[in-house]
């Protein structure tokens, strides 16, 4: 793969900009780049499925999914699809969203989550 190493963040089309900003800021503060991708809307358990697909796509094997409602999931490519590393419910306060991005970055850096 020639693409640059990055955490892949996938969303279904129209994520809340505030949610997207906080999640990305969490990874940026840790110094790990993210690449945001838009895909067609996923099924019922959107965020987890998006995150797993993103992790499989990521050169760093780490993905984040944000679903239509604003729920966030963090995933690693080596884990079973239904078992994300972290889930943040839709409507969670900003610091929790920031932590989701931070968790993804810390997986890459192998630091305690």
């Amino acid at each position: 793969m020639t693409e640059k190493p990055a955490i892949v963040l996938r969303h279904g089309g129209s994520p809340d900009p505030a949610v997207l900003r906080e999640v990305c800021a969490g990874a940026e503060e840790e110094g790990v780049p993210t690449r945001v991708e838009q895909v067609r809307a996923a099924g019922a358990d959107g965020a987890v499925a998006l995150a797993h697909a993103a992790a499989l796509e990521s050169p760093l094997e780490t993905g984040i999914g944000i679903d239509e409602s604003g729920g966030v999931a963090v995933h690693h490519a080596s884990l079973p699809a239904e078992a994300p590393v972290q889930r943040v419910e839709a409507g969670s306060p900003r610091p929790d969203l920031r932590i989701a991005g931070r968790t993804a970055a810390r997986i890459v850096k192998v630091l305690p989550l």
Partner: protein, 605 residues
Amino acid sequence: MTDRLVVGVDIGNSTTEACVAAVPGDSPEYLSTALTHTTGVKGTPDNTDGAVAAVRRALEKAGRSPADLDVVLLNEATPVISGLAMETISETIITESTMIGHNPATPGGEGLGVGTTVAIDALAGASGPTIAVVGAGWDFDDVATELNAATDRGLEIVAAVLAHDDAVLVVNRLRAPIPVVDEVGAVEKVPLGMRAAVEVAPPGRTIRTLSDSYGLASVFELDPDQTKQVSPVARALTGNRSAVVVRTPSGDVTDRRIPVGTLTLSGAGKTLQVDVDAGAEAIMEVLGRVQPLDDATGEAGTHVGGMLAQVRDTMTDVTGQPAAEIRIRDVLAVDTFVPKEVRGGLAGEVAPENAVALAAMVRTSRSRMQVVADEVAAALGCRAEIGGVEGEMAVRGALTTPGTAVPIAVLDLGGGSTDAALLDRDGVSSAVHVAGAGELVTKLIGSELALDDREQAEAVKRYPLAKVESFFHVRHEDGTVQFFAEPLPSHVFARVVTMTPEGPAPVATRHSVDHVRRVRREAKRKVFAVNAVRALKQVAPGGSLRMLDFVVLLGGSALDFEIPDLIADALAGYGVVCGIGNVHGSEGPRNAVASGLVDAHVAGS
């Protein structure tokens, strides 16, 4: 009834062991053993339940009924109760918020910025080199916009101090990067309008200027007297990746010795005093001059007075003896350090403070084991008698370890005390109990690593360490790597863990595996290796360890994965054979007393 059954029961501080033997002729045939938790304090009637449970369980394993019992033998225990206390003897205090020396995980930028502290919403009126101070509630985009605007107006912004974990985000949005220290919880206490310096080192480095006395002198143009004053600041900042120092008119960082009082030790017709803040070595040296110790007291109204009063109170609660009658018969002092939050710190800074841990041991006046024997007899419907003294029985049991012979010394490594007993060629035995054992090790590990949870400290003591390196593998402390087919839970990811039988359990620490391992081994060495020598010297002929041939380790801590090695190392220079007991060639270091009781009974009848 074809043969008679004899059961030996050893009631210890934490476990009760039973050992069932059939005695067809003049040599016992061992059928089974069992182990339960001791109920109540050793040597009190509460022990009955545990003793009966252990006997029943051992009988069940042997497939025999209590009706076959001839006699139950109990040990005459010397009730030894120990207490622990710990007192810090140094304290770091920051006055007037002169310094921030914490290590945020992700500071921003790098380099040194020297200027005047100004709140971010007051930048409009500022001039000259400026350090922006940003309170809670500021968003990183707004901070960057504000700082960029001020720079555009011509203000020279040299550094920033933030409340939130935003340093990298802010620096990424600045046109000219500056050093930024973040996660300063009490940023509102940073004095404004003062000359200050902010330093951030590159990743993998530590700060060079603010952690150096002359560096501080250069930054703040100090004269020699002032330089002397700030040298504690430099020392306190050594090893940090980032720091802030504010120069206030009388601000200071002091490293103060707390007067903890004197310890009065009496024994051998002498009464000597020692300052506790002189440290463990001085205390143990004075203790050596008053052996055997009759009592120890602390100066009233001081820390050490409170410490020993607390030990005495605990003893009173468990034994029912009045505090005035309780004599402290041994003390073990250990130097340690305790990470404590710095008083006056702005970012939850932690400094390692010196501390002394004391284990004190009390021997109660008399045992109530006869009461236990009567109650056991009633519960099981058989005879129960006191079969022998614990130390002598332990030696007897230890002697069944293959490869041993008299003179033999045993070291019983327990939870509350370390006991030594000796059997010489003439069949004479002697025994001592010294303060400090497994519980003190747990306490030292817990306090040095600042673990809130006693269970975690216990796990660090009992199990080897590892680092979780991915969702599927750990690296053990010896460097070997283990793969797991099932993913490891995310709460242990990248953490230092203890390899418990239930799987990896996280240790709440930012320290490395190496550091935690060092703390663990040092704690074990400071307690068990020191106590092994101390206790053996008291039973060895002429106090000389060279007169001992065989030393057998018994008790729960003899099963530890490294304590026997640490003790063997400590004894290596004395030319003794030291190893883990293997009672009857099969029982390991357990059951020495219980089977010793049976052997003694059979030999005597």
